[in-house]
């Protein structure tokens, strides 16, 4: 019996080693000649064109771009690849997921590699990638929150553009009266980023850290007031909670049954894609405020480019990340080719002189307004388990909406789950 096993084990070992070898050959590395090839994952539109510009200018540092799917898919893949030891050299990461990736030991501390990049950004933007003085990414685009609305319909019905959330509620009511099939907006539980932004705007801090101790504020007074406010709007059927960007929602956006999208500055590009029949009918305004006369808004979305710990060429990778995001050339390409709102100041300045987004050719002051909005943003600290918070928030708030139970109870339950998860992982949390 023993003798028979030996060839079998040999064959098995051979098979395994062949597999391992073929696995290795798939990974990229540098040749000995000094030329370097970097792998880069992102999902922003037209990123390949930006990479091509770099590759033409830098024959010794070639970048290989892979579209890794949207923010959530991409970070899941990144985490898995990193654990397997073959993460790409560079990857785009949403600001919300950056802390959880830091805790999972994915991004490299690039503080020493990007010393000259700080001045390219505003303080608020730079803070999104700074943790206790250490830099973990280069901000690419930002999403200061804004209010995208059907200017044609609101004008037709004589509904003023809301500047406060109370006016938003009034406008929602007026829309229901003007067209029973239309809603001013849909604010489903899946829009974690929107609710987090609205709560931040109200003065809440969903996560904050001081002296290694975290405080979770998803169920603080401000957030619960926000929950009550939107619960009332939904209960009175002034806004609905249909999921966004479904064939259903897109059809309604096209046919004028969805009249606004409170979100962020990246929204025009999305609407242009899903509701092409409505070009020229939308305008952008600052997001409604909780108090009249206030101006500051939170961020929703936006991403940075990290260098991973798996990278064999962190210096070259940081160089590319800096060019792509912080240089004038890169930031301009982010604006003009990716159609994003650049994180770098130079890109935002370029924006003021460029044409408005294709969705609103009639709104000449779009980028002036955008610059004004992004000049007054509220810095946000995202926690190490935004992923847990987001999926729990969506599931529990959906349940509350379906069962007709108070939204504030859902917020409190989310807080509970988030705190427990952090404690289980070993964080010190002040309000457990």
């Amino acid at each position: 019996m023993k003798k028979r096993r030996i060839p079998l084990a040999g064959v098995a070992a051979l098979g395994v080693s062949t597999l391992l070898l073929s696995g290795c050959s798939g990974a990229t590395g540098s040749s000995d000649g000094g030329d370097v090839t970097l792998d880069f994952w992102s999902w922003a539109p037209n990123t390949q064109e930006l990479v091509d510009v770099w590759n033409d200018e830098n024959p010794d540092i070639q970048v290989k771009y892979t579209d890794a799917g949207g923010g959530k898919d991409s970070s899941a893949k990144l985490l898995t690849a990193s654990r397997a030891g073959n993460a790409p050299d560079l990857a785009a990461v949403e600001y919300t997921t950056l802390p959880s990736l830091i805790v999972a030991d994915v991004p490299l501390d690039i503080t020493e590699l990007v010393t000259d990049a700080k001045d390219a950004y505003t303080e608020g933007t730079w803070e999104q990638v700074t943790f206790d003085g250490h830099i973990f990414g280069m901000p690419q685009d930002v999403g200061p929150m804004s209010f995208l609305y059907r200017s044609d319909k609101l004008a037709e019905w004589g509904i003023p553009v809301p500047t406060t959330w109370q006016e938003f509620a009034d406008a929602a009511k007026a829309v229901r009266a003007a067209d029973p099939n239309a809603y001013l907006a849909s604010l489903p539980a899946g829009e974690f980023g929107f609710y987090a932004g609205a709560a931040t705007q109200a003065g809440s801090k969903w996560w904050s850290i001081e002296d290694d101790t975290w405080t979770v504020g998803i169920a603080d007074e401000e957030s619960l007031a926000v929950a009550d406010f939107f619960e009332k709007l939904v209960a009175e059927d002034l806004v609905n909670t249909d999921p966004l960007l479904t064939p259903e929602w897109n059809a309604k956006a096209n046919s004028g049954q969805v009249l606004s999208w409170p979100s962020a500055l990246w929204s025009p590009g999305v609407i242009e894609g899903v509701a092409p029949d409505t070009i020229g009918k939308w305008s952008m305004a600052p997001l409604p405020q909780w108090e009249a006369g206030e101006k500051a808004v939170a961020y929703q979305g936006g991403s940075s480019v990290i260098v991973t710990k798996n990278s064999d060429h962190p210096e070259e990778a940081a160089k590319f990340a800096t060019w792509l995001n912080a240089s004038e050339e890169g930031a301009n390409l982010v604006l003009t080719v990716q159609n994003g709102y650049p994180a770098a100041i130079s890109g935002q300045e370029d924006a003021t002189s460029s044409e408005p987004p294709a969705l609103m050719p009639q709104q000449a002051d779009y980028y002036t307004l955008a610059a004004e909005i992004s000049s007054d943003t509220i810095p946000v600290t995202w926690g190490p388990n935004v992923n847990v918070a987001e999926s729990t928030f969506t599931d529990l708030l959906n349940k509350a909406i379906a069962d007709g139970t108070p939204w504030r109870d859902a917020f409190i339950a989310v807080q509970d789950v988030v705190v427990k998860d952090m404690v289980k992982a070993g964080f010190t949390v002040s309000n457990k």
Binding site: A12, G15, S100, S391, T394, D395, A402
Partner: protein, 319 residues
């Protein structure tokens, strides 16, 4: 090796060669088995063992680093306790049960019905019907779910279009409780064809003499179907039943694809979705491994239970 196969000597071969040949013979099966065995070991056994190992680990925060770094440490039964005491898991299995109660009998019933109909001598357009019923099985689950999703959404649904035109409003396909029927419908639509082919093949294997004997005894087609065909294809029914049951326990792609279209489907709607959530959304790979082990063991137990019950029944019927 190939020469010994090609020139296999007759039985009356030279005696001296026999010991060598015997040894070759004992090695040969293993060589033939080797590719399958290697693939099984590398892609099944090793991952399963790794998953089992991982299910006893957890990620804990350690100092060093800015926010700290999560490292893998031994956790004992912590993951299993967390997974098994999560009320959402029970709710997920509950939803799975509702789905299974709708989909499994419906799939089997329709598959048997279609197979019996196709087996009736006088039925026309057999080949066409067989292919028409089988084709949905060739549609990938995600595509099928998307396709049906469009037909369920009130804004794009042809069914809701009709009911709206009749003044009855839209059909809430994607709301509770219709969602269970809607998802089961996708699975039934896709699964009937495959199961029908298995049952139909079993039916074709029944010797026609039995039917002739039955006809001579005065049985009509209906009686032949119920009294002869169905009892004789019970083994095929058991097989397809087990397949459908396992398929139901592995429900994933349909609700996952429909999820963005409705608020009704949570991220932990069925156990497999919970596993995905743990592994790829909340970064709890060890927890996901523990739940995977629980689900796998559960599947084996349920399948074994069904087999045992059916075996007992059939032996009971014989005696």
């Amino acid at each position: 090796m190939s020469t010994s196969l090609a020139t296999r000597p007759p039985v009356t071969g030279v005696r001296r060669q026999q010991p060598r040949r015997r040894r070759r013979r004992t090695i040969a099966p293993y060589v033939f088995l080797a590719p399958a065995l290697v693939l099984f070991v590398v892609f099944m056994l090793v991952p399963i063992l790794y998953a089992a190992y991982l299910s006893f680990q957890t990620y804990k925060l350690e100092g060093g680093g800015i926010l700290g770094t999560r490292v893998q440490v031994f956790a004992g039964l912590e993951n299993y306790i967390a997974v098994l005491t999560d009320p959402e898991l029970g709710a997920g299995f509950g939803r799975l049960a509702v789905y299974g109660i709708i989909s499994v009998p419906l799939t089997l019933g329709l598959a048997l019905l279609f197979a019996l109909l196709l087996d009736v001598q006088t039925v026309k357009a057999k080949r066409f019907s067989r292919i028409a019923i089988f084709i949905p099985y060739a549609v990938p689950g995600v595509v099928a779910a998307l396709l049906w999703g469009f037909m369920y959404l009130p804004g794009t649904s042809p069914f809701s279009y009709l009911t709206k035109a009749l003044g009855w409003g839209t059909i809430p396909f994607l709301d509770d409780p219709a969602i269970f029927g809607s998802i089961a419908n996708i699975a039934v639509w896709g699964g009937v064809g495959f199961n029908m082919i298995i049952i139909y093949t079993a039916l074709r294997g029944i010797p026609t003499e039995i039917y002739e004997a039955a006809r001579i005894d005065g049985a009509n087609e209906w009686q032949i179907a119920l009294r002869i065909k169905v009892p004789l294809v019970v083994p095929a029914l058991v097989l397809t039943g087990i397949f459908s049951l396992i398929g139901a326990l592995q429900l994933y792609s349909e609700p996952m694809t429909l999820k963005p279209m409705t608020n009704e489907i949570s991220q932990s709607w069925v156990p497999l979705m919970t596993i995905y959530k743990m592994a790829f959304i909340t970064d709890d790979l060890p927890g996901a491994a523990a739940l995977s082990v629980v689900l796998a063991v559960g599947t084996v137990l349920v399948s074994a239970l069904v087999l045992w019950i059916t075996n007992r029944k059939s032996t009971g019927a014989v005696s």
